[in-house]
Symmetry: C5
Subunit: 152 residues, 5 copies
């Protein structure tokens, strides 16, 4: 029974975690979900770490990043931290981040929901099928939240 | 009796720590505060580390960042350090940073004070209610210092 | 019998791993390949780490990076993680990354394929000839995916 | 008898260490100074580390950064390293850096000298008065090398 | 008999290592050189690490960085890795990097050769004279590859 840490923020403008949890439960019925909500993206890594220490096998996180340069540096700091956690624990952290300069309004909401669902599916495949579960799609231009672009 | 490290700087132009301490004491009456004041943002992480080693359970830090590109790189270095500390100790560091290019004069002072108070409240909730204490607000577009923007 | 970890993504638009594996098998017939496919570049480091823990002696990874500033920060986070892995394990991670702002369409595909092959060859030389295997080419302006530029 | 590591570079155009040592000796008469001069800013962190391992309790470093983007990335790498050292050892590293795009000629020299002296004073206060030694100045807009800007 | 790791790349357009080795052997006749050639700058850190583990006391590395923003991020990742290595081992890594946007053609070649020689000399002084060997030059505006600019 795999345990997945689901970490999201109050800063985000879409409840992406909810969407992802639905997908995870449908694809991996025996899954155990542990949720942790933090204020913003710079609080995500420690939440993942705590849930890893409680035994979670993988994590999926939902960040939301403003449009300024400062926001982008915060995103970079968070990304580095999630990299360090992954290589410390050897556990996947699927980082679902929405950037406010990608789109706006309803379109941005749609991107967020689709990205959350599609990355939850990616995580489900990694958890159930292992290292080569996604290999049939290698190099095929998959996108999450936007249409796939296909192979060149 | 939770102990919270409060770290601030002489570089900042608003005494944000004072505001945050009031909120923390009101929301978590049994709280123990340890304060550490340093010159600037690149001195914050080591102060947090020392207070964690003295037994603090969480930290809230108050940074103030100038408007130049160099200032932003200093912010990035500090942010990475606070991420590393959080994943080393498994303790929250709520990083309250004010950027001089956000606003100016009285407005910037107001942003700083409100951000300090609102993040102190976030920390109080995390300390008293745990991982799902903020979940009712997940994806609701909370902001600190500026008006909430709400969900999409 | 050296074991090489081959990590690629579903985000990429060219199956670079396939090209590299052909070269590796031809140059190092006794080689053992372990493949791991992940969604995107921020998932690469943990896959390498897992395969290193399963005994792989080196890795070759295939990243694909979009043209935006955000994409570049993700590239930076991944690059830092691969650096940290390399200095933790003392094992090479040959990082083959294609950036969408290098070229487009067929030309980009050609760059990707050539870069994968040429870096696979670099790895084969490091594995079979050791630290001075590439020394005859030191300072000679080798490029992968684009024509060599030669020494000044 | 506190020991302070003083690390500076041959790249800098002002002998800032000399100025800082005078202040430190006047403010903390029993102080022991260990000096280490390196070529440039990317050599500073290892010098601090060596002097920490020889028993120094804190460090003050003097960097000088050119005006190009590449220089700024070198500054960032150094800053991250000094952060990591501080959180590894729990010892302060007061990082006095002068950036060539701050001013030029005599003015830049004056900034460098004043910054060195003022940060030496900060360090002396931290060493002799501890975590709350600077608290009376918290949020008061102190600057080093330029005039203080005061609280908002 | 000090052992120095000399790490260079096939990407570089000048054989800088060769120049540096000549200087090192002349200045430190008993020196032992271990050379390691890698494809590009992101492969340098692991080579240094391996040679440190084989007993080298210090390293000098020769990077060559293209003119694009992506190249600069690769430079940053490498620089951070070399910082981490230095503070892990307490050994100097003199990082000699040439950036293609510094100059071009013959001039760039001259910069590369002079920088390699001058930094080899710096390393020789650190190895033979220790922490204060370069102190007489502190704050004197030394440059490597370009003319010294002198103190302000």
């Amino acid at each position: 029974m795999p345990c997945v840490a689901v970490v999201d923020t109050t800063f985000a403008r879409v409840n992406m975690a909810e969407e992802a949890i639905k997908v995870l439960k449908r694809k991996v019925p025996a899954i155990k979900i542990k949720r942790y909500t933090v204020p913003g993206i710079k609080d995500i890594a420690v939440a993942v770490k705590r849930l890893f220490d409680e035994g979670c096998d993988a994590a999926i996180t939902f960040g939301w990043v403003g449009p300024t340069q400062t926001d982008k540096y915060s995103y970079l700091a968070m990304s580095i931290a999630l990299q360090m956690l992954q290589i410390q624990y050897g556990k996947h952290v699927i980082d679902v981040t929405v950037h406010e300069d990608e789109a706006s309004g309803e379109k941005l909401k749609e991107v967020a929901i689709m990205r959350a669902r599609e990355h939850a599916l990616n995580l489900a495949i990694l958890l159930t099928k292992g290292p080569e579960g996604l290999t049939p799609l290698a190099g095929t231009g998959q996108r999450q939240g936007w249409p796939d672009v296909g192979p060149l």
